[in-house]
Subunit: 203 residues, 2 copies
């Protein structure tokens, strides 16, 4: 088995992505793998490319997703600091900044993403507010200069668009969506199957 | 923990339902549970109630479902005798008959459903052909008289409609969809979580 990094696709808007983000690095490490965190936008993949409505507005599935979310949060011992039925934060500013940091401050970019996720879903902070986003990301170890540059650089939007296109090209559409050696795993409810697959039993 | 039966909702059109059907009774029995098999129609729940397109026609998700299906089939050691990308059989005649047998021949109805699923997905037989359906169900132990009565009784359609309405009322929309003490589990990829939940660890 190769030791290629896993790709972890996620959207800051997604509480399931948050739950997976708390597990994915440890899961991968148990199999000697690194994880490449990459941003996608459900507003593009699900709404535009797949042509589906948002899950919370889908009859039956919206209620099921809330049950599934509560179950997985309990299972992981996580308390959500934001009501998942309320209007979610706009993920675009954070996703643009993360796409920029991946390129220009790669060593700090994962910590920045983890801090943004915690701010959004553990602490219930408005990560679409520029000052909140700036504070969260600098607290995570990114320099003030880098955060300011990332927030100001119009190329951040292009970098994010390229990431979302890469996600679609790779067949990734949800959050979380993990790809391991070309094998796709969608949803926090497939992390055990990913674990089994990495152990070599699930081929 | 109560010993109430689990409800296993499924559609004969669904290969994921077939894979789950091969595991659900043994899984439940490990926790001292029986399983009540009940029919639903994805053409009603997904297409009409949820307003979604069929998964095979949904960009990205259709391809993912095929990967997921192949993975779970390998994992269970199951070989599908029907190409899941080809047009599926019309599930209505079999679903109507099964809804009728649940009421009028309850002791043989589960064996009939298992035989229909095996015919459709293991053997690739046209279960929407009345003579095929008749042969499969009588081979499974239902009397010729009962099969003939079930195929001829117009009330079978009403019984099936009532089942589908009951599924929607219970929040069940997919195949497989298991409900255990009110807790919903959608998809063959959630059977391990169901197992864990029944063991009392997943609350």
């Amino acid at each position: 088995m190769s030791g290629l990094p896993l790709t972890f696709w996620f959207d800051f808007i997604s509480p399931f992505g948050y739950l997976a983000s708390l597990r994915i690095d440890a899961l991968a490490a148990r199999h000697g793998r690194e994880v490449d965190w990459r941003p996608l936008l459900l507003g593009v993949t699900v709404l535009k490319v797949m042509g589906l409505p948002p899950v919370p507005q889908t009859p039956l599935k919206g209620d099921y997703a809330m049950r599934q979310l509560a179950r997985h949060a309990r299972r992981q011992g996580v308390t959500l600091g934001r009501d998942p039925r309320a209007a979610p934060p706009n993920p675009l500013p954070a996703a643009r900044l993360f796409a920029w940091l991946r390129v220009h401050a790669p060593d700090e970019s994962k910590a920045a993403a983890q801090a943004i996720y915690a701010a959004a879903w553990r602490d219930g902070l408005p990560i679409d507010d520029p000052e909140t986003l700036r504070a969260v990301v600098t607290d995570a170890g990114v320099t003030q200069q880098a955060v300011a540059a990332g927030l100001a650089d119009p190329a951040a939007g292009d970098l994010l668009r390229a990431e979302v296109s890469a996600a679609v090209a790779a067949g990734a559409f949800g959050s979380p969506f993990v790809i391991a050696d070309g094998e796709p795993f969608f949803g926090v409810d497939n992390l055990e199957l990913l674990d089994e697959w990495l152990a070599g039993c699930g081929h």
